[in-house]
């Protein structure tokens, strides 16, 4: 009952409705969207910026939070895509946008801040609306924080080797199913799970080595 990781689509209608409401200006919906998805997106972006050789170059120009804003604005503007994606869960969809955004940033090396409103909306009215939305998303996403323990976790994650780090990122930050994780890594779902187990073992031991909080 607790693990819904492999049952994507169950909450699809709820997710779509949530994004739609956030886009229509519901602060509550935007808040919930942020609460649910933003920390993982931030963790994903941070990990990519820290460890991905291509993305590392971005760090000089871009804060992880700016990227997060871009992703959220694009997500809210591109609601139609979510509906088109059918059974894709919300977090995985957002993660896909984040990965695309990172890739775009790396390849295009655009110097100036992009006008996202123009990018996601063609006509004037819609553009103004997205512009307003963007302002709210900016202020809201600045409130997203990672737990102190998560910061330690990110540091430990950076010390893993590439496949192990990747499997954690895909499984936890992108919330892909085992089948999808396997596909992305070119392995079977079971092999991906084994790899994940090894990654978690390494992470646990590293975290434990750093600080012993346990009572036992």
């Amino acid at each position: 009952m607790l693990d819904c990781g492999d049952n994507p689509g169950v909450t699809l209608s709820v997710d779509t409705a949530l994004v739609a409401r956030a886009r229509d200006g519901s602060e509550e919906a935007l808040g919930e969207l942020l609460e649910r998805c933003a920390p993982k997106l931030l963790a994903l972006i941070r990990t990519r910026l820290a460890c991905d050789p291509g993305a590392r170059a971005l760090r000089a120009r871009l804060d992880s939070r700016d990227l997060l804003q871009n992703v959220l604005i694009k997500a809210l503007g591109g609601l139609g895509d979510l509906q088109a994606m059918g059974r894709r869960p919300l977090q995985a969809w957002l993660a896909q946008i984040a990965e695309n955004e990172l890739r775009d940033q790396v390849t295009h090396h655009r110097r100036q801040r992009r006008d996202l409103a123009a990018e996601v909306a063609a006509d004037g009215d819609e553009r103004r609306r997205i512009g307003e939305l963007a302002a709210r998303v900016r202020s809201a996403s600045s409130r997203v924080v990672l737990r102190e323990r998560t910061e330690r976790l990110m540091a430990a994650l950076a010390t893993l080797d590439d496949p192990q780090r990747e499997v954690v990122v895909l499984r936890d930050f992108e919330e892909l199913s085992w089948a999808e994780v396997g596909e992305r890594l070119g392995r079977t779902a079971d092999a991906a799970r084994m790899l994940y187990a090894r990654a978690l073992t390494a992470l646990t031991l590293r975290l434990r080595g750093e600080a012993d909080e346990g009572r036992g």
Partner: protein, 804 residues
């Protein structure tokens, strides 16, 4: 990935396999997985590689590492937050506005040091008060247009905070409403989150500190304020381990309950806050404190979920793992306190934060705690389910016999519906229990004797009965209510039962003395012709007593009071039937009419039983089922008297009656009795096969009754002297046959019925033939007995031979 695999340490090997299994378990929906590290170590061959001491040390390290793993999983599934929780948290709000080039706001009279956090409707800054030269925390109303509350809410918060005068609650120093934006100046609290300090504290200190927290929360409750967002990050611990509660930002006056329903932190929210319309009170905070203690004990949250929906479902319906399972060193009394506070039903929790504090202090001082969490019972029920399935599987595989499976199932069933407080079900007889329930019984007798004296006219007026009956009633009721809260449930239940006996007697006397609803003289429908009480008076007394008993049964959730309710309801039913002519039925021996009129009561009891069963109230449905089954037997037996049922159905067997039988309805009676036996046996078997677990006691009762009911017609024929000799031998033969048949279904009750009835048959034979003075009769019976013993030996040898 495989570089270091060759020289992997035992801990690493153990952890990796453990995690693999854990993931596999999740993947398969909870199937599989490992729960015992030692077992796993043996499986991996580590037990052979290492000495016993090394293995112990490894397992110790593994337990700690496993907690780290569980925390890692939690962090991975929820890495952060979009609303920083602690209002006056000193955790760096990373990256703060300062780092990002945004200027810190300035407030007149203060120097802004840094941003402490955001949440609860505003931002909190660390400020230096230039006038008084001290550090303060300033909560700033968030600027309009962004997420956040209004000035009104801000004022409310400030006022509710200003009510507090408790060193354990962050104090309000000032409200600078004239500033733009307004600033709430609060005490600045140095220290750490409870989540960072709590787990490293020894148990007694932890309990003492949480008791302080609970007392502070209780202080707020007394002022009518609910915190609404208690969690470790809102509890700050100073250098002297003194706790301080922050962020009454969600705090709500108790009158304004709806506001707190869905604000706060999901993981710490009481289930009733997740249900629209459910009433919310201060016990929601008690729940949150329970979750905090749970988390401090075992390092994980009790209810988790991949999504909010899953987590909400878990909080509302799930059963948490016991802390002791997750961390073997958890002290059981602390676990009991946490689970008691976390009970799903507010009524099962501590009644107030103060009671929670008292129990924590008991633990701190090394005294036994009072917590008896209902979650233990729920956990047990949950775990029994698997065992019951296994028993059914064993029975299917013929590893055990059906009757053994039934016996095991009912033993498990007893465990589930265990009602230790009542003498009938308690596992241990103690002098105090015996004394209590003997007291209840004698009290009932005494009350009835007093009523008799009153009816006889020996007691005059209303004063004397009031003096005799009211003080014990009040004392028992109040004493029971007090004892029930003080966790002396066993005594409380006995007191409640005793009070139930006093209520109707007091009511009857009161009604008669006040002359309400008197019986009209000579009214033939009255139960007591020209007697002391009218039907209406009896009905009102019965109704009020039943209602009182129902309330008590629901409050105590015990079989004892449910059974009392069943009895009072039955008496009420009889009082209601009095209007329909109960007295004349009894006087004219029209017992069939009584039987027919009892049918609605049977139906109501059964339906109520099914409903209680569905809503998982075994304490209520079991007595109802057993009561309904007994009533059913009573009804069919009453209908059998003089074959009345045939008359009701408009049938007669007169045509079949032999000439020489003078008894008018002999055949009808015997046929009905036979049919009853079959009916009861069928009902018993139906209940056993198709019924729920709670129906088993009722089924067992019917199984016991069935063979007796089957042999009854023959016994009846024998007893009706006129035809005796013809039937006596058949009666004896059939009784012996029933005893022999008992092995077919493994029904001991058939054996007992056969044995007892054959004894009756022998007695009737002797009486009817007047064989009292015949030694030959005794000798022949002796011979038959020896033959039976010899037969036993032969059968035993044959069975031995067959089995090789």
């Amino acid at each position: 990935m495989s570089g270091g695999r060759v020289e992997a340490s035992p801990l690493e090997r153990l952890l990796e396999v453990w995690i693999e299994r854990d993931l596999e378990g999740e993947h398969n929906g909870g199937e599989g997985g490992v729960r015992d590290a030692r077992e796993l170590a043996v499986e991996l061959g580590l037990a052979e590689e290492l000495t016993e001491a090394q293995l112990e040390e490894l397992l110790g390290r593994f337990a700690a590492t496993r907690r780290e793993y569980e925390m890692l999983r939690r962090d991975l599934s929820a890495p952060g937050s979009a609303k920083p929780a602690a209002a006056a948290s000193s955790e760096p709000a990373e990256p703060g506005p300062a780092e990002r080039g945004v200027e810190l706001p300035s407030f007149e009279g203060f120097r802004t040091i840094e941003l402490l956090g955001r949440g609860g409707g505003g931002e909190v800054y660390k400020l230096f008060d230039e006038r008084l030269e001290r550090m303060v925390a300033g909560k700033v109303l968030r600027r309009e247009g962004e997420l956040g509350g209004s000035v009104r809410e801000f004022l409310e918060e400030a006022r509710s905070l200003a009510l507090f005068d408790d060193p354990r609650i962050a104090r309000v120093l000032d409200l600078r409403i004239e500033l733009d934006p307004p600033v709430l100046v609060m005490e600045h609290v140095e220290g750490f989150d409870l989540s960072r300090v709590g787990r490293s504290l020894p148990d007694p200190q932890l309990a003492g500190m949480l008791a302080e927290v609970a007392r502070a929360v209780d202080h707020a409750h007394r002022l009518g304020v609910v915190h609404g967002d208690l969690k470790p990050s809102n509890i700050r611990v100073g250098a002297e381990l003194e706790p301080k509660i922050l962020d009454f930002g969600l705090a709500t006056r108790l009158g304004d309950r709806e506001r707190i329903r869905l604000r706060g932190t999901l993981a710490y929210m009481a289930p009733e806050r997740l249900v629209p319309e459910a009433p919310i009170d201060a016990r929601a905070d008690v729940y949150s404190l329970g979750v905090v203690l749970y988390q401090l004990l075992c390092g994980t949250l009790p209810y988790q979920g991949a999504s909010d929906e899953a987590q909400i479902a878990a909080i509302r319906e799930g059963i948490p793992r016991l802390p002791i399972e997750l961390a073997p060193r958890v002290a059981e009394p602390l676990q009991a306190i946490a689970l008691q506070a976390m009970s799903r039903e507010p009524g099962d929790r501590y009644a107030s934060a103060n009671e929670l504090a008292l129990d924590l202090e008991r633990f701190r001082d090394g005294r036994p705690v009072l917590a008896r969490p209902v979650l233990y019972q729920a956990t047990l029920a949950e775990r029994l389910r698997g065992h019951l399935e296994q028993i059914r599987e064993w029975s299917r595989l013929k590893l055990i016999y059906r009757h053994e499976a039934a016996a095991l199932e009912s033993a498990y069933g007893r465990l589930e519906a265990r009602d230790e407080d009542w003498i009938v079900q308690s596992r241990r007889l103690t002098p105090w229990r015996i004394s209590l329930y003997l007291g209840v019984f004698v009290l009932v007798c005494g009350a009835l004797l007093y009523l008799a004296a009153y009816v006889e006219g020996a007691v005059e007026g209303v004063a004397a009965p009031l003096v005799v009956l009211v003080p014990p009633l009040v004392a028992l009721g109040a004493g029971a209510a007090w004892l029930f809260r003080r966790d002396a449930r066993a005594v409380a239940v006995a007191f409640f039962m005793a009070s139930v006996a006093l209520v109707p007697i007091l009511l009857l006397i009161a009604l008669r003395e006040t002359g309400i609803w008197p019986a009209a003289a000579g009214d033939a429908d009255q139960l007591f012709l020209d007697g002391p009480f009218s039907n209406r008076q009896l009905q009102v007394a019965g109704l009020l007593t039943s209602a009182w008993c129902l309330a008590l049964a629901y409050r105590t959730r015990t079989v004892a009071l449910s059974s009392s309710l069943l009895i009072t309801a039955f008496l009420l039913d009889l009082a209601l039937l009095a209007d329909l002519g109960l007295r004349s039925w009894l006087e004219e021996e029209n017992l069939d009419r009584l039987a027919v009129h009892l049918l609605p009561f049977l139906a109501i009891a059964w339906i109520a039983g099914v409903l209680a069963d569905r809503s998982r109230a075994p304490w209520f449905c079991r007595p109802l089922y057993v009561g309904a089954a007994s009533l059913g037997v009573l009804i069919v037996e009453l209908m059998a008297q003089d074959g009345e049922v045939f008359r009701h159905l408009g049938l007669t067997l007169e045509a079949l009656r032999p000439e020489d039988v003078s008894h008018e309805r002999l055949l009808e009676t015997v046929v009905t009795m036979v049919a009853n036996g079959v009916l009861i046996a069928l009902a018993a078997s139906l209940l056993e096969r198709r019924g729920s677990l709670a129906m088993l006691p009722a089924a067992r009762l019917l199984v016991v009754v069935a063979p007796f009911a089957m042999l009854k017609p023959l016994g009846y024929l024998s007893a009706v002297g006129e035809y005796s000799v013809r039937w006596d031998w058949l009666y004896l033969g059939l009784s012996l046959a029933v005893a022999f048949w008992s092995h077919l279904r493994e029904r001991r009750s058939f054996y007992y019925a056969g044995v007892i009835n054959s004894g009756f048959a022998l007695y009737f034979l002797t009486v009817h033939n007047e064989w009292w003075d015949r030694p030959a009769w005794g000798t022949s019976v002796l011979t038959v007995a020896l033959l039976l013993l010899a037969l036993g030996l032969v059968l035993f040898r044959r069975e031995r031979r067959q089995h090789g």
